[in-house]
């Protein structure tokens, strides 16, 4: 599908395409209620409660007033509807603001100020500096004579650096006045959401140039929501408007993630549901039997001789309604409230604020905090995540000479400085390449100093280093220190190659070719190897001569490829490939990327906590291994062992994989060795394709893995692989290439780092530094899991408690389905009495944060789900059964005979439940803050207050009941007895377990209480060097491993060293970060 946009033609486009009205709203006023209700009822729980509520309307079977279900149901619905409505209203307001913004456009040749929503396709829009772009535009003219303008795309992709946009060559040199009369047609694809591509063509009508078709790329566009910077004005033609813009198409609602805890709660709910059905069937049959055997003799009940057809169903349905409270209607609301508080705690945490930037941690997804406590695998990106992504040029090797080896910094190496000052040709050439072959934008400030803005940190490091060696990049024309650079043209094109191209071969240079001797290549290859072993990022700098005719030929091919609409990327890549051959290697530059502060400690703590770490990086294998070593990923030999899976063909990979698997199996079963496997992208591709099963087994067996040279999609595949094994995965990354992995993982964490906010935006959590991850997991994740585990099981406990009492009561009421409790009590019990105190368990802390940090192993309990699983649930189930028996038996015996008035007995039973639950919450609370005391004991006071109020309303069924009860000494004696009988066994059991079978949490709690911190201090780890000493000799870790083959470097592998350290498949996008 294509779209034709006629420039500056008001009449044509109006009806075909939508106007520029942005609408992010989900609802309109009219469809809000039906749509919202429909959405809410697509959830099973809500359907269930609605069914119950509807059944309750049938007065023959309803045990209590339908209000007891309708009330909470409507309340819950009202709460979530009003939240939705409020969000939608806010969206409407911001839409309105954007839609009514005043914009200059061209109409009938005159500039007019109109509202943004009235822009049509084909309109020419005028923007001034710092204006927001109202819709997707194709640039036609700018204030800059060369047709450049700068945009900030932060709202679109989160990257804060300025990007260059240029006008299409067709519009080059058109006068401002003439722009008012410009006419033409743009052929562009239908609206899509690819913000990195815009494959279109433009043809201007006479008198503007000829009928040539000019290619348009994303470089010629201004996309909606970007800001125009550093450019006085720019104008462009609207090609996509309203919700059809790239930004509009990108908007989507992410699939809600379900936590393991939620899944478990759903499972338990299902189990309770089955239990409920069984109870209903059993009691229903028993009820019908009793009715036929005994009920008909009860003359005062007046059973009709012949009942209606549904007579047999009446009693089971009554029990269904009676038992419907087994599934607590309040659990969803309680959990939602708790979850949003967990998220708030993460947002509020001052210990997770990046001290450098002041960026707070943010929980974008409020619903999955519990999962943080259950993480089993962390898949991490390397550059920018483990490292700072602050590149510093450290060493280089130019024509076989090493610079910076002694001092560790080439910039202070006297030899290099000397070579620069003497003007050694090789070195100067090397520096020139460093300075100009890039996409860095020099920005000259008023005082004359030049600062650089760059998308790639590597390029910035090279340009800065070159500048310090007196090779200063001054402006985009390629002026180096005032000297005109004749080869800029070629380079400019090269520099603007599609991104994939730019990354694969970082830098190259077009100059006459020299003959390369084999010896030279060998030194360079060794240099690459050596630098990589030090954990440095290496870049080869090369150049090549281009003859005039060859250049012309290539340029036309490039132009042609660049203007194709279909498959443009691939064709451009093909054309570029033609040029990228016969390079002469100038030298190797090594860039250091330092580890972030606290990375080794964080990884060590998290590994101690039983979390497996996988590193997925686009970097070279040796660099990756080195970083892995320095940040505690793998222990050094002999404790640690690295197994490499490599190979270029299927057979090789297969053999290698089998060997590694065998070794892993053996070491896993017998020794305490730390085994990690290393795999590169090519072998991974083969392994995932053909040997999925053994690879999965290996993935599960080994605690650590290093995957190098992997593409974004492979990262996502690995996450998928682990998820299929039912492991909880957390993916952490900082760049655009991690987005897919972050979205795929159970939990995505983005580092709001130097590569922009793209990852942070896609992530569920964004943090400023990698080291905050340990706090996020060990503190927030763990607390959230513990709290939710208690909250959810408690919700079931209290519902089961009251439900069991109802069931027991049915045995003494002729199995007829009578409810002991009245409507008010039932409703308030679920929604108020029992929900409020437990909500404050979100403040509970079983262990102090310090203890958890000292004993990260305590996370095992969360990971393995020890606090919420069928067996703990069975404990709560048993407790509710026991408590129900206690309350019921004591109540009916102490309120027997002349006291057995229905309302009184019911009130005694409810009071018993409330007293018991107060003590249960108190016993299960680990730390009492003032709020917990207020909630638990205040709730008891509240219970009496509410009942006194209800008891003073003459028309209520409970009139005077509570006053009568409170006057009776036997009421209070009964309460004390219920509490003592209910709690003593629980306390005794808890004490026994606490003292003689303590869980790890208990031990640490006791330790916390009895010992000063010194005693529980773990044996302090011998301090681990963050950075390896710069001149340390690399000990090959791999020599003992089965496939230990240190890559020998020789002429035969020359090409391997330089061009194909990566899979030969050229469509792979690799990014060295």
């Amino acid at each position: 599908m294509k779209r034709y946009v006629y420039i500056n033609d008001d009449n044509l486009a109006k009806d075909i395409y939508c106007d520029n009205r942005i609408s992010n709203r989900k609802y309109t006023i009219l469809n809000f209620l039906p749509k919202n209700i429909w959405e809410q009822f697509s959830r099973f729980m809500n359907q269930y409660f609605l069914l119950i509520a509807c059944l309750q309307l049938w007065s023959l079977i309803t045990p209590v007033n339908p209000a007891s279900t309708w009330g909470p149901l409507i309340l819950i619905f009202a709460v979530s509807s009003s939240k939705e409505a409020w969000d939608d209203y806010n969206r409407y307001l911001s839409d309105k603001k954007a839609n009514e913004k005043e914009i200059w456009i061209l109409r009938q040749g005159i500039r007019k100020l109109i509202q943004a929503q009235d822009i049509c396709i084909g309109n020419i829009v005028w923007l001034r500096e710092n204006d927001e772009v109202p819709c997707d535009l194709v640039l036609l003219g700018t204030a800059d004579p060369q047709g450049f303008c700068y945009v900030e795309t932060a709202a679109l992709d989160g990257e804060t650096d300025l990007k260059t946009r240029s006008i299409p060559s067709a519009c080059m040199g058109i006068d401002v006045d003439l722009l008012h009369k410009i006419k033409g047609v743009i052929e562009c694809p239908s609206p899509n959401k690819d913000i990195r591509r815009f494959d279109a063509n433009m043809r201007l009508f006479p008198p503007f140039l000829d009928n040539d078709i000019f290619p348009l790329t994303i470089k010629n566009t201004l996309l909606q929501s970007c800001y125009l910077r550093n450019t006085e004005w720019a104008c462009g033609v609207a090609v996509y408007t309203g919700n059809q813009t790239k930004l509009g198409m990108c908007r989507g609602i992410a699939e809600p993630k379900l936590t393991a805890v939620d899944a478990m709660i759903d499972k338990l709910t299902g189990a309770i549901f089955v239990f409920q059905i069984v109870v209903v069937i059993v009691l229903g049959i028993a009820g019908n039997v009793f009715k036929d055997k005994e009920g008909r003799k009860l003359w005062y009940v007046q059973y009709p001789k012949e009942g209606p057809w549904y007579e047999l169903l009446v009693i089971p349905l009554r029990f269904e309604l009676l038992c419907s409270i087994m599934i607590p209607i309040s659990i969803k609301v309680s959990l939602d409230l708790a979850k949003s508080l967990y998220a708030k705690f993460i947002d509020w945490d001052v210990e997770m604020v990046d001290p450098e930037t002041g960026i707070r941690s943010n929980a974008a997804n409020q619903a999955i905090s519990e999962d943080l406590g259950q993480v089993e695998y962390i898949l991490t990106d390397k550059t920018g995540t483990l490292t700072e992504n602050k590149m510093i040029f450290k060493r280089c090797c130019i024509s076989g000479r090493f610079y910076g080896n002694e001092s560790g910094d080439a910039l202070t190496d006297a030899q290099l400085l000397n070579a620069v000052s003497t003007g050694s040709a090789d070195v100067i050439l090397f520096l020139k390449v460093m300075a100009i072959c890039n996409t860095v934008i020099p920005v000259r400030s008023k005082s004359g100093t030049i600062s650089y803005k760059a998308l790639s940190q590597d390029e910035e490091a090279l340009v800065c280093a070159a500048a310090r060696l007196r090779m200063v990049l001054e402006n985009k024309n390629g002026n180096i220190l005032g000297k005109e650079c004749p080869w800029w043209l070629g380079n400019a094109k090269a520099g603007n190659f599609s991104s994939c191209q730019k990354e694969q071969m970082k830098l190259f240079f077009l100059l006459p070719v020299l003959i390369v001797s084999g010896q030279q290549v060998r030194t360079l290859a060794e240099a690459v190897e050596q630098y990589a072993q030090l954990g440095l990022r290496t870049l080869c700098l090369a150049w090549r001569k281009l003859e005039e005719d060859e250049y012309q030929e290539w340029t036309s091919m490039f132009k042609e490829a660049n203007s194709t609409l279909v498959d443009r990327e691939r064709r451009v890549a093909e054309v570029c490939q033609r040029l990228e051959r016969d390079f002469e290697i100038l030298g190797v530059a090594a860039i250091e990327d330092r580890l972030q502060e606290g990375v080794p400690e964080t990884i060590e703590i998290l590994r101690k906590a039983g979390i497996n770490f996988w590193m997925l990086t686009g970097d070279k294998m040796s660099t990756a291994i080195q970083i892995a070593l320095s940040c505690n990923f793998v222990s050094p030999e002999p404790k640690g062992q690295l197994l490499i899976i490599d190979g270029k063909t299927e057979d090789e990979v297969c053999r290698s994989l089998e060997r590694v698997l065998l070794t892993t199996r053996i070491t896993e079963s017998e020794s305490k060795q730390d085994v990690a496997f290393v795999v590169d992208g090519w072998a991974l591709e083969i392994a995932l394709k053909h040997y999925r099963k053994p690879f999965t087994e290996l993935a599960i067996l080994s605690r650590t893995a290093i995957c190098c040279r992997v593409t974004p999609s492979q990262k996502a595949q690995l996450v998928e692989l682990l998820k299929l094994g039912d492991y909880r995965t957390l993916a952490i990354g900082d760049g655009g290439n991690d987005v897919r992995m972050i979205q795929q993982a159970d939990i995505g964490v983005g580092i709001s780092g130097r590569e922009g906010l793209q990852a942070a935006r896609a992530a569920d959590y964004s943090i400023g530094k990698f080291r905050f991850l340990k706090r996020l997991i060990l503190v927030h994740g763990r607390y959230s899991y513990n709290r939710t585990a208690f909250l959810s099981q408690y919700s079931f406990y209290k519902s089961l408690l009251i439900c069991f009492i109802q069931i027991f009561f049915s045995f003494i009421s002729g199995i007829s389905g009578t409810s002991l409790f009245n409507t008010v009590s039932l409703m308030a019990y679920n929604v108020f009495y029992t929900s409020v105190p437990v909500l404050f368990s979100v403040l509970d802390k079983d262990l102090s944060e310090r203890t958890v940090m000292q004993h990260p192993q305590i996370l095992f309990d969360c990971q393995s789900g020890r606090l919420l699983n069928p067996s703990t649930f069975a404990g709560w189930f048993g407790r509710s059964l026991f408590h129900a028996i206690v309350v019921f038996v004591i109540t009916i015996h102490s309120y027997a005979f002349e006291k057995s008035e229905m309302e009184e007995v019911a009130m005694v039973a409810v009071s018993g439940c409330i007293w018991l639950q107060a003590f249960v919450v108190a016993l299960e609370t680990n730390s009492f803050t003032i709020f917990q005391h207020l909630a638990i004991w205040g709730n008891l006071v509240g219970f009496y207050a509410i009942n006194w109020i209800v008891s003073s309303i003459p028309t209520s069924g409970m009139y005077t009941i509570m006053f009568r009860l409170c006057e009776q000494p036997s009421y209070w004696i009964t309460m004390i007895l219920i509490v003592a009988t209910g709690m003593c066994p629980v306390l005794a059991l808890k004490y026994l377990r606490y003292t003689y079978r303590p869980s790890r949490i208990n031990i640490l709690q006791q330790a916390e209480c009895f010992h000063s911190s010194g005693i529980i201090e773990p044996k302090s780890r011998s301090s681990l060097e963050k950075d390896l000493p710069s001149d340390s000799v690399y000990e090959p870790l791999l020599s003992e491993s089965p496939s230990a083959t240190r890559r020998s470097v020789g002429p035969a592998q020359r090409s391997d060293s330089f061009q194909s350290q990566s899979p030969p498949d050229s469509t792979h996008t690799r990014k060295d970060n």
């Binding site: 001052v350 403040l843 192993q857 036997s970 009988t981």
Partner: protein
């Protein structure tokens, strides 16, 4: 924001007390419970002992049944009780076991009578009982809502319809012993739940007659037997207040009770008992609470004793990090 930054709430650093289940605390708790519960139980038991209670089950003896075949007995009894013409007077004599101080309460007790049955307990309309203008409101009262011609029954519903109608006349040494039937219902029922100008209408006028009848020209709230009956019992065995004797009864006094045995409990094999009882601060006779208190107290003391013994035999230091599994055996870390 600044406030938020440093608030102890947002940082989850609220001052908190973290109680630990130390042996001392737990043992002390159990000992305290034991020590307090046993005396409470004893005093409760003794209060219960002080209650003098006379119970006489009269349903079996007040009906002629002379057949070995239970089925025959059953049908004979039903025939007897449903025959309105026969004289159902029955005379019982009771001996006062202990001195009974006034006020002495007279109850009737029904066993196996499901006042809490779903069909029964819901079959009432409080609004009709309270409000004279709402006499046509008979919702929920089915099947005793209205006559076949459509006139509403006041008071409607199965509960009112099945009103208990045995009567007792007491005499001591041939002197009548008056039973005061005033004020036996709850005051709130008399003043609020039942209207003082609501009169019964069409009551027991259908072909099927349930229990007792009402007097049409006395307002409902003064017919206290109805009020007492309408306070449905939660248990199938229940007692309801019949009246009060306002003189003391001496030991071994013989009391003659003339019972009009009208109420049908024979269809469902229920029992009827006459209960004459005094009360104390705990109410009527109830040994259960006292017994359970003593048992719970005793068990608590026992548990405390066991805990102390175990603690002395096998002391275990709390919070020793060497118990941590990863400190014990670093290899088994997973």
């Amino acid at each position: 924001m600044e406030l938020l930054n440093h608030s102890r709430f947002t940082q989850q650093e609220l001052p908190a007390c973290k109680p630990i289940l130390t042996p001392a605390l737990v043992m002390a708790t159990f000992i305290v419970i034991g020590i307090t519960f046993i005396p409470i139980g004893l005093s409760h038991l003794s209060a219960s002992e002080n209650v003098v209670e006379l119970v006489d089950q009269y349903d079996e003896v007040c009906i002629p049944a002379d057949s070995p075949d239970p089925d025959v007995v059953y049908s004979k009894r039903i025939g007897y009780i449903q025959d309105e013409t026969t004289d159902k007077t029955c005379i019982r004599t009771l001996i006062v076991p202990k001195k009974m101080k006034q006020p002495i309460f007279v109850y009737y007790q029904l066993d196996q009578f499901y006042q809490n049955h779903r069909r029964y307990v819901k079959s009432r309309n409080d609004e009709q009982y309270r409000d004279p203008s709402a006499s046509a409101k008979t919702t929920n009262c089915e099947p005793e809502a209205q006559l076949s011609e459509g006139q509403p029954i006041v008071p409607c519903g199965l509960i009112a319809w099945s009103l208990f109608n045995d009567t007792y006349t007491l005499s001591r040494n041939d002197v009548a012993l008056p039973i005061n039937k005033k004020g036996i219902a709850w005051e709130s029922d008399r003043t609020h739940k039942f209207g003082d100008n609501v009169y019964s209408k069409n009551f027991q006028n259908r072909s099927l007659i349930g229990g007792g009848k009402l007097i049409d020209n006395i307002p409902l709230n003064q017919q206290e037997d109805l009020l007492v009956w309408m306070r449905t019992a939660a248990l199938p065995n229940f007692r309801k207040l019949y009246g009060r004797i306002e003189t003391d009864l001496e030991v071994n006094e013989i009391i003659k009770v003339v019972i009009q045995n009208n109420y049908n409990t024979y269809s469902f094999n229920g029992k009827k008992k006459l209960v004459i009882s005094t009360t104390t601060w705990i109410g009527g006779k109830n040994d259960f609470l006292g017994m359970v208190y003593i048992i719970v107290g005793g068990v608590c003391l026992l548990i405390a004793l066991v805990f102390i013994t175990v603690y002395l035999i096998k002391p275990r230091p709390l919070g020793d990090p060497s118990y941590l599994s990863w400190n014990k055996n670093p290899a088994s870390v997973q």
